[in-house]
Symmetry: C2
Subunit: 238 residues, 2 copies
């Protein structure tokens, strides 16, 4: 593993996972559901929607579905949830609006300031399974100061496909070791590391809600471990 000095000297691009790492999908959906459909258990609804995410992408990875963007996958999952949560009366416009809640997720409180500091020294980009339009709308609303919005949509492959991690290095003509993935999920980081990227784990204990804290213990294989994006900026001397 590189020393911190090596890491600072060699890293050129920081690529960020988005859902859970930079933005609070659970809290944002709970808040919107409380406003739009207060009769629904927002916590259960948010968790159920997110639980459909990996299986939906798996259908694309396996070839069962052709290339399908997250907006469309979110909509497919939403349709299956409506009966369960008593929302079958929603009109098409209401369904479209609700599905776009993923474009309106709020950043964690440290994200904008942390990214702004990191941007002074590194090129910062998203590397999310979210589609380009979703990520752009989200960034514009939340003030996320990306140098470049990168997405599975650009590489036509979903993480953890190596084409996504290696794709970032190729876009910037870098060695994989000059790119660091920053994420709140150890499996995403492990897949990036297998491609030669450096990795930073970001603690997001309340990704699944404050009543459902997740284990954020360090794993030794990660190059860095930070409690927030501000802490990451501090560690990287920004």
């Amino acid at each position: 593993m590189d020393t911190l000095t090596d890491l600072k000297a060699n890293t050129r691009v920081l690529a960020f996972d988005i859902f859970g790492t930079v933005v609070d999908w659970h809290g944002s959906i709970v808040r919107e559901m409380h406003q739009l459909h207060p009769q629904v258990d927002g916590n259960a609804f948010a968790l159920a929607w997110r639980a459909g995410y990996q299986p939906a992408m798996a259908r694309v990875r396996s070839g069962e579905l052709g290339w399908t963007r997250i907006d469309e996958l979110h909509r497919m999952i939403l349709e299956t949830l409506l009966p369960e949560f008593g929302l079958t009366h929603l009109s098409e416009d209401q369904r479209v609006h609700l599905n776009r809640v993923w474009h309106r997720l709020d950043a964690w409180p440290d994200s904008v300031q942390g990214l702004t500091r990191l941007k002074q020294r590194f090129t910062i980009c998203s590397l999310s399974n979210g589609n380009l339009g979703l990520l752009t709308d989200m960034a514009k609303r939340a003030g996320l100061p990306w140098d470049c919005v990168l997405s599975a949509e650009v590489f036509r492959a979903y993480k953890p496909d190596p084409a996504t991690y290696l794709g970032v290095a190729q876009v910037f003509d870098l060695q994989p070791s000059q790119v660091m993935l920053c994420a709140a999920h150890h499996d995403d980081l492990a897949a990036a590391r297998a491609c030669g990227l450096r990795t930073a784990y970001i603690e997001r204990p309340f990704e699944f809600g404050t009543h459902n804290p997740k284990d954020v213990s360090p794993q030794a294989a990660n190059d860095l471990h930070a409690t927030s994006l501000l802490a990451l900026a501090e560690q990287l001397g920004c």
Copy 2:
């Protein structure tokens, strides 16, 4: 043609051509050549390099070359120019550095302020044949405040392929008429218009140098005609 009121109400995304429209490729290359290789006629060199651009892309469009990024096309053209301009002594590192001058182009004086104003009301993105890494480096250096960097590289097709213009609309789930291409080149705008986009012509009389002004007369088919990006912001009420 829409009225100005319709245009303001319906347009959601402004997509910008880059080389010549947002940045001054000719002046930037002349200035760098004056510093790096003062013995070379920078004006002739810049014009010759740019003259190779459309023929190189035509080789990709025709299928003679597989998908090739502009960085690589610029390098291929550069290699053909080195003998002509007495630069065959350049080392590999010097050639790489010179080729990346396209990542270091300066914005026209009104670009950053104009885009910053337009961004308040519209989603603003690049739509350039330049590759993502080039456009990101350029934006970071020049301070271009894109909401999203879009490129031929995302669509694997070069303008004027309809896949590029329609691709912008698809990324943002919009009708083509909700996207406006802003460019200093009537052929680019005509191709966008054929796909249903709205178009704004930007006057850049000195794209080819101050001693070689180009015709910037209005063409009636464009929805808007502006003397600068600040003037465009003014017209669009930003």
